[in-house]
């Protein structure tokens, strides 16, 4: 298996027998939610779709997997989503087959998808790799595989001596405790190695500090990962090192 990090997304290309392009957390419709909270901006959905298409162009994949939170508003579907989603999905479909692992923001997404495009919330195994949005316990069938997951919007903060910081989308790779994830059948010993790869959100407004996810885990996967030998990569695949190298977890000194 080979992984390619596509910075233009950010998105991930997983190659085994087929080439699968994975993009997570588009959050189409985020602008109307922000507006509801007093922050008004134009919709940038189209730019986001263009970035996915640029990755398609660049990597020529056989399949596109959207790793959940394609839409933003729960539990309703907003006017912005009705307006934008059909066109965006159709545009993507035109280039290649599409699969969606529904996320916690995807209530009502089925009306925008064809029947075969919607996969299970608990994840799916495609060409030997597990895919899962990341807010649920994974299906036991993913055990022993690499699980690619969204939902966590990982982002790192790097500081240099002068104190300037780089805040960038990142990938986090970690072993997970299968028992903790309830992936073993009763009595079965955990023998296989299951790992999770959290991929950054395609939506540029999303981003959650990795350090905080580790300190205050908020999902089965983040609670059950072993952080001691986890690894952090930037969106272009640059290896940053184990979590421990990010000493200062991008705290919020600025108000």
């Amino acid at each position: 298996m080979r992984l390619e990090f596509l910075e233009a997304g950010p998105a991930l290309l997983v190659c085994r027998t087929r080439k699968v392009l994975v993009a997570a957390d588009l959050h189409i419709g985020i602008e109307s939610d922000l507006a509801l909270h007093g922050l008004h901006f134009r919709s940038r959905s189209h730019d986001r779709m263009k970035r996915v298409l640029a990755c398609v162009e660049e990597s020529d994949p056989d399949l596109l997997v959207l790793l959940g939170d394609v839409k933003h508003t729960v539990p309703l579907t907003t006017r912005q989503e009705y307006r934008e989603l059909p066109g965006i999905l159709e545009e993507l479909r035109k280039s290649l087959p599409l699969r969606v692992l529904p996320g916690n923001h995807d209530s009502g997404i089925s009306r925008f998808l064809r029947e075969d495009e919607l996969l299970a919330r608990e994840g799916a195994l495609i060409d030997g790799t597990g895919y899962l949005h990341g807010h649920t316990y994974p299906d036991p069938s993913l055990s022993g595989h690499l699980i690619v997951s969204g939902h966590h919007h990982p982002m790192v903060t790097l500081k240099d001596e002068v104190g300037c910081s780089l805040r960038a989308p990142a990938y986090l790779l970690a072993d997970v405790d299968e028992r903790c994830l309830r992936m073993n059948a009763a009595g079965e010993e955990a023998s296989r190695q299951t790992r999770v790869l959290f991929i950054p959100a395609l939506n540029e407004l999303a981003g959650y500090d990795i350090g905080r996810t580790v300190r205050e885990p908020f999902s089965p996967l983040s609670r059950c990962m072993r952080t001691d030998d986890s690894e952090v990569f930037l969106a272009d695949g640059t290896f940053i090192g184990p979590l421990a190298t990010l000493e200062d977890y991008g705290d919020d000194q600025e108000p």
């Binding site: 008004h40 901006f41 540029e204 000194q253 108000p255």
Partner: protein
């Protein structure tokens, strides 16, 4: 006399009753002009009958041409001035059979309704309320009758965005009322014509101005640099006059001085953070003569009437000529009387600055007021206002109306940029040439009638006493406060340990360096020309034209002689000295606050880029203090300074400022005024970094830079210093730390240190530790434990069951550890817990009560406790060690 006789008979009678047997110069000049229908700017010190000069002919004309609706608008910048004006003008109106009303934010609904039904002839209001009046159909109809608009304290309004907004509002008024007569009343400014242009746009106007100098009698005094001495001096001065107004520059000083003088029983304090009732009472007591002195901040500068003032004391340099003239102008309060004022200088910088400012005041060299031009957020605000006012309006009409106002002449491409930004965030809709209001515009407008930024308050939490000690304005915090910063509030020094969730955690600080920011942005910047003159005076040492008294002169000369004796070169207007200080380099540059701020930021960003190090900066009007690692000395700073190009400063600053909290805060403020962010927006939704990214290269970002570079720093003047350096007109000299360089560093001017903060901190800590609840448990028999507080723990601690002295002391939340350590089958982790508990008990065994106290400190475990105990510190030193450990804990464990 002739002028009076030409007036309406009833008006003549009023003038006579009011005792104006003779017209003042201002009145004699201005009344005929107003009567002739000229637009007029009237420039005179407070108390020379400006209001009457404007209003007598206006009353005269109103008598001559009766009619309905608001016929005259009298606009002032403050509600409190509105009330004052109402009192003053109500008498005239009653005598003349005219109606008068006041309308501003506090006006009750019933009164508003009355005004809508039968509008008063004269309406006293604020710029913001005028904005609101355009939103109502009925009020708009009444506004169509306006013939006169009087803008009071126009210098105050013109200097800011409120003024730019008002200037547009006047043009919007023309759309209903047609051309009306404009009268501006201003304190003394350096550029009266600019005030006229601001008021009238391209229309003709005339200026009537009273020369300042002949009304002022200003002296400078010095009473030593100790605060008690200075307070004694003030006390003596109060005795010498019937009534005295004492101006100070900060609330902290007002409080401190008040504290010293209260025992006299005839002094009150008046400043902005006191409640309105307290302030009004102080004003009344002063007016009635119940007290003979009032200590006040700029709260008293504007023309609120508090009766006769014989003498004005300015405590510390007034920093600006305009401020001095305005403040001293409060004295004398009778036509053509001389205003007497004395500046009490408090140190070397302060004294020279005071001499220069007093001299410039006598020469009439008052600072210019620069109205902001093309402020994009004001433009957005007024575009939205017009969209709501007309529901749909052509872009051309907007361009025409706004373009008539002085702050937006030729709004051309800016208007288009602003309109498309507003359309993008849905504040207006654009349809070809038409601008329409959107669902959001009315709500936006209702929340943004004012260009004054509403400030959130952040609470300040003292880690030592574990109490909230006060609040700070968000702007002050974002601009000045960062982890490790020292600032003043409540008359005390504080160091910032942590900032989160709208709360600042601080500890009392002992030593202050540099001129400290004190709360709520009371910093008054010293203007460039004043700082240059001070530099020139340091060079010439010729004080003859300043007429200092002998004690003052002796102090200055002694200071300079000491500089010479120490072979310390004195920085002047043509010499910059770079002095190596213990923790950095002091650049003595006589360029004023704003130019120094710009220079300091440029130098620091270049130093940190070249040497990869963090540079701390502190500035005042005469020096820049760069905190540097030991390997960087004055030589390196000189190299950077000499490599600067005047044309590059702005570009460097744009890069440098982009990452700063100050810029981000400014950006958010501008975005709010643009309607892209609602006043009550939930920032949790989006990090401030993403937020600033979203405005990258928009007109919002451009405006944030424009404001930053004009209000907070003076890039132009900084560039001038750099040019002078390049041309060799300013030279750079390297030197050792001098008393002059250290002056700003160790004797902050606006700061009064309380007696021994250290002592106070320690005693608070002792109190807290004494009351700390603890769980004591025997680690020998493990059968006994008890809950108590530190002060009640016996010394030595002995287990009542087994008699052993192996007792662990835990904080209540650590109690579960006991069970963990005593489990029958113990995991590795449990073992480790047990080891720690035994260590804890051993420390208590060997050090007794001291160990109990140390262990009750926040975040102090056995390791920290044994480190503290191993210092063998006793008494206060011991507590200081605990304090250090707690501080360290807060810093390193901020997420626990």
């Amino acid at each position: 006399m002739e002028t009076i006789r030409s007036l309406d008979l009833a008006v003549q009678e009023c003038v006579r009753v009011r005792g104006f047997s003779r017209l003042s110069d201002v009145q004699a000049q201005s009344i005929p002009l107003v009567r002739k229908g000229r637009n007029l700017v009237l420039i005179a010190p407070t108390g020379t009958g400006k209001t009457e000069s404007a209003m007598i002919p206006v009353f005269d004309a109103m008598r001559g041409h009766p009619g309905g609706g608001f016929r005259t608008l009298y606009i002032t910048p403050l509600r409190s001035l509105n009330r004052d004006m109402l009192q003053r003008l109500a008498w005239w109106c009653k005598e003349l059979g005219l109606t008068v009303g006041v309308r501003h934010g506090d006006t009750p609904q019933s009164e508003r309704r009355k005004q809508a039904l039968s509008p008063p002839d004269l309406l006293i209001t604020t710029p913001e309320t005028l904005q609101a009046m355009f939103m109502g159909k009925v009020l708009r109809r009444h506004l169509a009758n306006v013939r006169y608009v009087v803008v009071d304290e126009i210098h105050e309004l013109a200097a800011g965005k409120r003024g730019a907004q008002l200037a547009v509002a006047l043009e919007r008024l023309v759309e209903y009322a047609g051309e009306f007569q404009r009268i501006g009343l201003s304190a003394t400014v350096g550029n009266p014509d600019e005030m006229g242009r601001f008021l009238c746009g391209a229309r003709p106007f005339q200026v009537v101005s009273v020369p300042v100098a002949k009304h002022l009698e200003i002296s400078v005094d010095f009473a030593g640099d100790r605060f008690e001495k200075q307070a004694d001096w003030v006390s003596r001065e109060i005795d010498r006059h019937a009534s005295t107004l004492i101006f100070v520059n900060t609330r902290v000083t007002a409080e401190a001085l008040g504290h010293q003088l209260f025992p006299r029983g005839d002094v009150e304090v008046h400043h902005g953070s006191l409640s309105r009732e307290v302030r009004i009472e102080a004003e009344e007591r002063f007016k009635s003569g119940a007290i003979r002195a009032l200590i006040c901040t700029s709260s008293m500068e504007l023309g609120i009437d508090i009766g006769r003032i014989e003498h004005v004391i300015q405590f510390g340099s007034p920093r600006e000529v305009a401020r001095l003239v305005q403040r001293v102008g409060r004295a004398g309060h009778q036509l053509e009387a001389v205003s007497r004022g004395t500046i009490l200088a408090t140190g070397f910088d302060d004294l020279l600055e005071s001499l220069v400012i007093a001299d410039r005041a006598k020469a009439g060299m008052v600072e210019e007021v620069t109205p902001p031009r093309n402020a994009a957020d004001v433009l957005a605000n007024q575009v939205a206002a017009m969209a709501v006012e007309y529901r749909e309006v052509s872009r051309e009409r907007v361009r025409e109306v706004i373009g008539r106002s002085y702050p937006f002449q030729v709004p051309g491409p800016l208007l288009d940029e602003v309109v498309s930004q507003m359309e993008e965030h849905g504040l207006i809709r654009v349809d070809g040439d038409l601008i329409r209001s959107s669902g959001r515009s009315r709500k936006y407008l209702a929340g943004n009638l004012s260009m004054i930024h509403d400030e959130r308050k952040m609470s300040v939490y003292d880690m030592v006493s574990r109490k909230t000690v006060g609040t700070l304005d968000e702007s002050f915090v974002v601009g000045w406060v960062h982890t490790g910063a020292v600032f003043i509030t409540k008359g005390q020094l504080w160091r910032v340990l942590d900032m989160e969730d709208g709360r600042i955690t601080v500890e009392p600080a002992r030593k202050a360096k540099g001129e400290l920011p004190s709360w709520e942005g009371e910093q008054i910047p010293v203007p460039f020309p004043v700082a240059r003159d001070v530099g020139a005076l340091r060079k010439s040492r010729d004080f003859s034209k300043y007429h200092p008294n002998s004690e003052t002169l002796r102090f200055v000369l002694r200071f300079l002689e000491e500089m010479d004796r120490n072979r310390s070169p004195v920085a002047t207007d043509t010499e910059i000295t770079l002095e190596n200080a213990p923790e950095g380099v002091i650049c003595n540059v006589c360029a004023g606050h704003k130019a120094n701020e710009a220079l300091a930021r440029v130098i620091s960003i270049l130093l940190s880029a070249r040497y990869g190090t963090t540079v701390g900066i502190e500035i005042d009007a005469y020096r820049i203090y760069l905190r540097l690692p030991p390997e960087l000395r004055s030589g390196e700073v000189r190299e950077i300074l000499l490599s600067l190009e005047p044309g590059h400063l702005e570009g460097i600053l744009q890069l440098a400022m982009k990452r700063t909290a100050l810029f981000k805060w400014k950006l958010v403020q501008v975005a709010k005024k643009f309607g892209a962010i609602d006043p009550d927006a939930d920032y949790e939704r989006l990090s401030i970094h993403k937020l600033t990214d979203l405005f990258e290269s928009t007109v919002v970002q451009k405006e944030a830079y424009r404001e930053l570079f004009s209000n907070y720093m003076d890039v132009g003047r900084a560039a001038r210093i750099v040019s002078l350096l390049r041309e060799g007109d300013i030279s750079v000299i390297l030197s050792h730390l001098s008393i002059l360089g250290a002056e700003g560093l160790f004797s902050s001017r606006d700061q009064i240190s309380p007696p021994s903060v250290d002592q106070a901190v320690i005693s608070t800590l002792k109190r807290r530790l004494d009351q700390q609840e603890v769980v004591i448990a025997c680690m020998n028999c493990r059968k006994w434990k008890s809950r108590t507080v530190v002060s009640r723990t016996p010394d030595p601690l002995v287990c009542p069951i087994c008699g052993a002295r192996l007792i662990a002391v835990l904080k209540p939340w650590e109690e579960p550890l006991l069970a963990q350590a005593s489990r029958r089958t113990r995991s590795e982790e449990d073992r480790a817990v047990e080891v720690r508990l035994l260590k804890n008990a051993n420390i208590v065994l060997s050090s007794g009560k001291k160990a109990v106290i140390a262990l009750s400190g926040r975040g102090v475990g056995p390791e920290n406790a044994s480190r503290i105990l191993s210092t063998l510190a006793e008494g206060d030193a011991f507590y200081r060690e605990i304090l250090k450990a707690e501080r360290n804990y807060i810093r390193t464990h901020r997420f626990w």
